[in-house]
C-alpha cells in the first residue's frame, strides 16, 4: 500500500505546485485535474472506492470541464505577473508558513498515533456513506443543498440581467 | 481581392469565420464570411467568383451553334434546360417554327432534367442536414435518368442535344422504354424519400421556421422557381409565359405559403411528381414527324443529303464554317429551369455570332436571399439555408 501512496502523493504535490507556478491558465487547469485524480488514487488506498470515484466524476469530470470551457472561451493565453501589491510579497510566505503549521498541529491532535494503515473501522461503501449522510448529517446535508440551490438561482438571476 | 468583414469596434469577442470556398456543404466553391457570436450568425457576406469562367463573354466569340456547348457547363446539373433556353432565345430571334415532335421531346427531356436536378438537390440538402442515405438513394435514381440522356444524346451530362431549330438527331429506337421503366418505378421512390424525411421529427425540427422569406421579400429579392413558390407566390413561367407547347400539358404548380426551408422542400418534392405527370403526357401524346425545322439556312442537313445533293453540301459547309445570320435585334427568352427563371437576353447585329448574350441566372438571384435567411440563426441553419436555395456555382459565376 505504502509505495502506491507515495507515488500518488508525489504526483499530487508536484501537480499542485505546477498548477500554482504555471503561467498558462490551461496548463494550470489541467494540473488541477491531475491533482484531483491522484487524490482519488489516495482515497482508493484508504479503501474509499466510492469517494474516489465520486471525486473524479464530480470534480474532474464536471466542475473542471467548466473551468476548461471558460478558459477556452476566453482564449486566455500567457499571464503576466502583476507587480502592484508589495504587501502580498512580504506577507505571503509567513502567512503560508503559519497556516501550514496550524494544519499540522490540528492533524497531530486528531490522529495522535499514526499507524500507517487505513483505519479499519471506516467503511467506504455507498451504503455506509448513505446512512451517514441521511442519518447523522441529514441537517447539514439539507442545508448545503438549499445553499447550492440559492447559489444556482442567484447565478441565473445575475446572468439574466446581462441581456 | 477576397471579401472580408471588418469586426465592429468594441465587440472584439465576436468571431469572424470564413466558411468555404473549400467546405463540404457550400455546394461547390461558395465562400461565406460569417460574423459569429457563439454559434449565432450576426452578419454575413457571400463571396462568389471562384468558378468564374467568362461564359457570357465567350458567347460573343462563338457562333450560335457553338454557343450551345457553353450552356451545358453553366448549370451543370440541368444542362438540357440551359440548352433549351439558349435555343429558344435564338429561335425567337430567327422567328423559327419548331415541329411538334421536337417540342414534345424537348418538354419530356427538360422535365426529366428537372427531376434529375431536384434529385441532386434533395440528396445534397439531406446530407447537409445529416441524413446520409437519402443522398445515395437520390443518386441511384439520377443514374437512371442519366442513362436515358446517354441513350438519347450520347452524353450523360454535357448533352448539347437541343439545337437551334429542333434536336440534334432523332432519338434512337426503343429509348421510350427506358423512360417508361423510370416513370413506372419513380413514384414509389419519391414515397421512399418522403418516408425518410417528410414526417421525421428531426427533419421537421431542422427545416421548419428556418430560413424564412416572406412573399414580399421574395419578390423584392428577385427570387424565382421553387424558392419563390415556397414563399406562397404562384409564379411559374411554364404557366405564365408558356414556351415549347407547355400550355398543352396538364400539370399543377406546387406552391406553399410557409416560406421556410421545409416549404421549399415540399415544393420541390411535389414538382418532381408533377414533372413525372408531364413526362407521362409527353410520352403518350408524342406526335410523329420531323425533329428539325424546315429551315435549310439554319438547320444542318442530315448526312444523307449532305453526301448526295449539292445544296445539302453547300448548306452544311456554310453553317459549319460561317454559321447562320439572324436578323438585327434583341430578344429576351425565359424558361423555368429547375432553379427558377433562366433567361437569355440576346442581341444580334446580324453577324453569325451574338453581339451580346446575357444570362439571367436563377442561382445568382436566389443567392441574394441567403444573408436574410441566416442572419440571427445558428451555423447549423446556414448549411440548411445554402441547401434550400439550390445554387449551382457554375451558374452563379458564369
Amino acid at each position: 500500500m505504502s509505495i502506491f501512496f507515495y507515488i500518488f502523493a508525489a504526483i499530487t504535490v508536484l501537480a499542485a505546485l505546477n498548477m500554482v507556478l504555471q503561467r498558462t491558465p490551461v496548463y494550470s487547469a489541467l494540473s488541477l485535474i491531475v491533482v484531483l485524480c491522484s487524490l482519488a488514487g489516495v482515497y482508493l488506498q484508504l479503501g474509499a472506492e466510492f469517494m474516489a470515484v465520486i471525486q473524479v466524476i464530480v470534480y474532474a469530470g464536471a466542475i473542471m470541464v467548466l473551468f476548461v470551457f471558460v478558459i477556452m472561451l476566453l482564449n486566455a493565453g500567457h499571464e503576466t505577473p502583476s507587480h502592484r501589491s508589495h504587501i502580498a510579497k512580504w506577507l505571503g510566505a509567513p502567512l503560508i508558513g503559519a497556516f501550514l503549521a496550524m494544519m499540522l498541529m490540528v492533524i497531530r491532535d486528531q490522529f495522535p498515533a499514526t499507524t500507517g494503515a487505513a483505519p479499519a473501522h471506516l467503511d467506504g461503501s455507498p451504503l455506509a456513506i448513505g446512512h451517514l449522510l441521511f442519518g447523522n448529517y441529514v441537517l447539514p446535508f439539507e442545508v448545503t443543498s438549499v445553499l447550492i440551490l440559492v447559489a444556482v438561482l442567484g447565478a441565473v438571476v445575475l446572468a439574466k440581467k446581462e441581456f | 481581392m477576397s471579401v472580408t468583414l471588418e469586426s465592429i469596434p468594441g465587440k472584439e469577442d465576436q468571431v469572424i469565420l470564413s466558411m468555404g470556398p473549400q467546405h463540404p456543404s457550400t455546394h461547390g466553391v461558395l465562400r461565406l464570411v460569417l460574423e459569429l457570436e457563439g454559434e449565432t450568425v450576426i452578419r454575413s457576406i457571400y463571396d462568389i467568383g471562384y468558378l468564374h469562367t467568362g461564359f457570357e463573354k465567350s458567347f460573343e466569340s462563338k457562333t450560335y451553334s457553338q454557343g450551345i456547348t457553353l450552356t451545358d457547363r453553366m448549370d451543370y446539373l440541368a444542362p438540357l434546360s440551359n440548352n433549351l433556353g439558349f435555343c429558344l432565345a435564338t429561335e425567337k430571334l430567327l422567328d423559327l417554327e419548331i415541329p411538334p415532335r421536337a417540342q414534345w421531346i424537348r418538354v419530356l427531356l427538360t422535365e426529366l432534367t428537372r427531376i434529375q436536378s431536384h434529385l441532386v438537390w434533395l440528396g445534397t440538402h439531406a446530407i447537409d442536414i445529416g441524413a446520409m442515405s437519402v443522398f445515395l438513394y437520390c443518386f441511384r435514381e439520377r443514374e437512371e435518368i442519366l442513362r436515358i440522356f446517354e441513350a438519347v444524346s450520347g452524353q450523360r451530362m454535357m448533352t448539347s442535344y437541343f439545337r437551334v431549330g429542333g434536336l440534334a438527331l432523332e432519338p434512337p429506337l426503343g429509348w421510350l422504354k427506358g423512360v417508361q421503366r423510370f416513370v413506372k418505378s419513380f413514384p414509389a421512390r419519391i414515397d421512399e424519400y418522403e418516408a425518410l424525411l417528410t414526417r421525421n421529427p428531426i427533419w421537421l425540427g431542422r427545416t421548419e421556421q428556418v430560413g424564412y422569406i416572406s412573399a414580399e421579400d421574395a419578390i423584392a429579392l428577385g427570387l424565382s422557381g421553387p424558392s419563390l413558390r415556397g414563399s406562397g407566390v404562384d409564379f411559374d413561367i411554364r404557366k405564365k409565359q408558356p414556351y415549347s407547347s407547355y400550355e398543352k400539358f396538364d400539370f399543377k404548380v406546387a406552391v406553399r405559403p410557409e416560406g421556410d426551408v421545409y416549404a421549399r422542400y415540399r415544393v420541390r418534392v411535389e414538382e418532381m411528381r408533377q414533372s413525372l405527370r408531364i413526362v407521362n403526357q409527353a410520352m403518350e401524346g408524342l406526335p410523329d414527324g420531323p425533329v428539325k425545322a424546315n429551315a435549310p439556312h439554319i438547320v444542318l442537313p442530315d448526312r444523307e443529303s449532305m453526301k448526295t445533293s449539292i445544296e445539302g453540301l453547300i448548306y452544311h459547309f456554310k453553317i459549319v464554317t460561317e454559321g447562320f445570320h439572324p436578323p438585327v435585334g434583341e430578344v429576351y427568352q425565359a424558361i423555368e429551369s429547375p432553379r427558377g427563371e433562366l433567361g437569355f437576353y440576346m442581341v444580334s447585329d446580324g453577324s453569325p455570332k451574338p453581339f451580346r448574350c446575357h444570362v439571367r441566372a436563377p442561382s445568382f438571384a436566389n443567392l441574394q436571399a441567403l444573408p436574410k435567411m441566416i442572419e440571427g440563426r445558428l451555423i447549423a441553419d446556414v448549411v440548411a439555408c445554402i441547401g434550400t436555395i439550390d445554387i449551382v456555382l457554375g451558374e452563379v459565376d458564369r
Binding site: 490551461v26 469530470g61 | 441524413a131 451555423i379
Partner: protein, 353 residues
C-alpha cells in the same frame, strides 16, 4: 514441480486476461468499422468495401497501415503538448473503462477461479462513469489546442453536449441500481438471473430490467448515443457544418486514435446497456461443460452486437439535430423523464418493500 505463490498466479491470470481483452477489443473495434461500412453500404444500396480480402474483410488492416503511413501534420500555431496529449488521453480512457465489464460467469481452473472480467470493482458502474466523464477533455482539448476555428466550435459543442447528457445518463440507470441494490456490474447481472414471477406464477419472461425499466433504458440509450457523439447527435464532428469538428486538424495515427476511441466508447456503452437492462450474459445454457462456460460469453457478445447494429442502423436513417434542439432535448425532456422514472421506481420499491 514448480509451485507458484498465490500472488504470482493472480498476476499471471490478470496479465493474460488484460492481454486477451485488449486483443479482442482492438479486433472488435477494427471490425466495427468494417461492419459499419458494410451495413451502411447495404442500407444505401451499395456494396461497401469488397476489394481488400473476401468481402473486404482485410479492409481494417489496410486502413490501419494507411493511417500509420500517412504524414502527420500539425498546425504551426497549435499548442504542441496538449495537441499531442488529447488523442492519447481519449484512447487510454476509452480502453480503461472496459476493465470492469463482465463478459461472462467464469470458471475454475486448477482451483483458481477465473472470472470473465478484468476486475470486479464494487463501484464498477461509477468507475465507468468517471472514466467517460474524463473523456470530454480529450475532445475539448483537441478542439482548443488545434488553434483553429472549426475545431474550437467542435470542442465547445462537445463539452456542452457531454456534460448535459452525462447527467441524464447517470440518472437513467438509478432505477436499475435501486432494484439490484449494488454498484458492481457483476452484481447487477447476477440480480437479473432467472425469470419474472408475478404473484408466484412463473411468466417465463427473463428477469431482465428492460421489462420494468423501459423508460430508464430509453433515456439511457438516447443519452449514450449523445455521449458517444453518434448520429443523430454527432454535432461535435458535424461533417457538413464544422468540416470535421474537433479532429479537423488531426491526421495520421492521431486521427485514428480519435476514431478508435469513438468506436471503443460505442462498444462500452453497448456493453453497459446489455449489463444494466438486458441481463448481461444470461441466456439459455446447455450442452457439455466447455459450451456451458462459453455460451454466456456468446450471449453477451450477441446482445452487444445487436446494439452496435442499432447504432449503425440509426446512422443510415436519421438526420442530425441542431445544437439548440439537442440541448433542449437533453435538459427539457430526458432529464425530467429520468427524474420521474427515479421517483416512480423508488415509490414502487418503498411500497412493495
Amino acid at each position: 514441480m514448480v509451485t507458484f505463490s498465490d500472488m504470482t498466479v493472480l498476476v499471471i491470470i490478470a496479465g493474460v486476461k488484460v492481454a486477451l481483452v485488449l486483443l479482442v477489443l482492438l479486433t472488435g473495434v477494427a471490425y466495427t468499422t468494417w461492419l459499419e461500412r458494410k451495413v451502411v453500404a447495404h442500407i444505401q444500396s451499395r456494396w461497401g468495401p469488397y476489394l481488400v480480402g473476401p468481402h473486404g474483410l482485410l479492409q481494417p488492416l489496410a486502413d490501419g497501415i494507411k493511417f500509420i503511413l500517412k504524414e502527420d501534420i500539425m498546425p504551426l500555431e497549435a499548442d504542441k503538448i496538449i495537441y499531442w496529449l488529447a488523442p492519447f488521453l481519449g484512447f487510454v480512457l476509452a480502453f480503461l473503462s472496459i476493465a470492469v465489464i463482465p463478459f461472462g460467469e467464469g470458471f475454475t481452473l486448477y482451483g483458481h477461479p477465473i472470472l470473465f472480467q478484468i476486475t470486479d470493482l464494487n463501484v464498477g458502474l461509477l468507475f465507468i462513469f468517471a472514466v467517460t466523464s474524463l473523456g470530454v477533455y480529450s475532445i475539448a482539448l483537441a478542439g482548443w489546442s488545434s488553434n483553429s476555428k472549426y475545431p474550437l466550435f467542435g470542442g465547445l459543442r462537445s463539452s456542452a453536449q457531454m456534460i448535459s447528457y452525462e447527467l441524464s445518463l447517470g440518472l437513467a440507470v438509478i432505477g436499475t441500481l435501486m432494484m439490484s441494490g449494488t454498484l458492481s456490474l457483476r452484481g447487477i447481472v447476477n440480480a437479473q438471473a432467472g425469470f419474472w414471477h408475478i404473484a408466484g406464477f412463473n411468466t417465463w419472461m427473463p428477469h431482465w430490467y428492460i421489462f420494468v425499466q423501459p423508460i430508464g433504458f430509453f433515456v439511457y440509450f438516447t443519452a449514450a448515443i449523445a455521449e458517444t457523439n453518434r448520429v443523430p447527435f454527432d454535432l461535435p464532428e458535424g461533417e457538413t457544418e464544422l468540416v470535421g469538428g474537433f479532429h479537423t486538424e488531426y491526421s495520421s495515427m492521431k486521427f485514428a486514435m480519435f476514431f478508435m476511441s469513438e468506436y471503443t466508447n460505442m462498444i462500452t456503452v453497448s456493453c453497459l446497456a446489455t449489463i444494466l437492462f438486458f441481463g448481461g450474459w444470461h441466456g439459455p445454457v446447455f450442452g457439455p461443460t466447455i459450451v456451458r462456460i462459453f455460451l454466456p460469453v456468446f450471449w453477451f457478445c450477441l446482445k452487444v452486437f445487436c446494439f452496435m447494429f442499432f447504432y449503425i442502423w440509426m446512422r443510415g436513417t436519421l438526420p442530425r439535430f441542431r445544437y439548440d434542439q439537442l440541448m433542449s432535448l437533453g435538459w427539457k425532456f430526458l432529464l425530467p423523464v429520468a427524474l420521474a422514472n427515479i421517483l416512480v421506481t423508488s415509490f414502487l420499491i418503498a411500497w412493495h418493500g
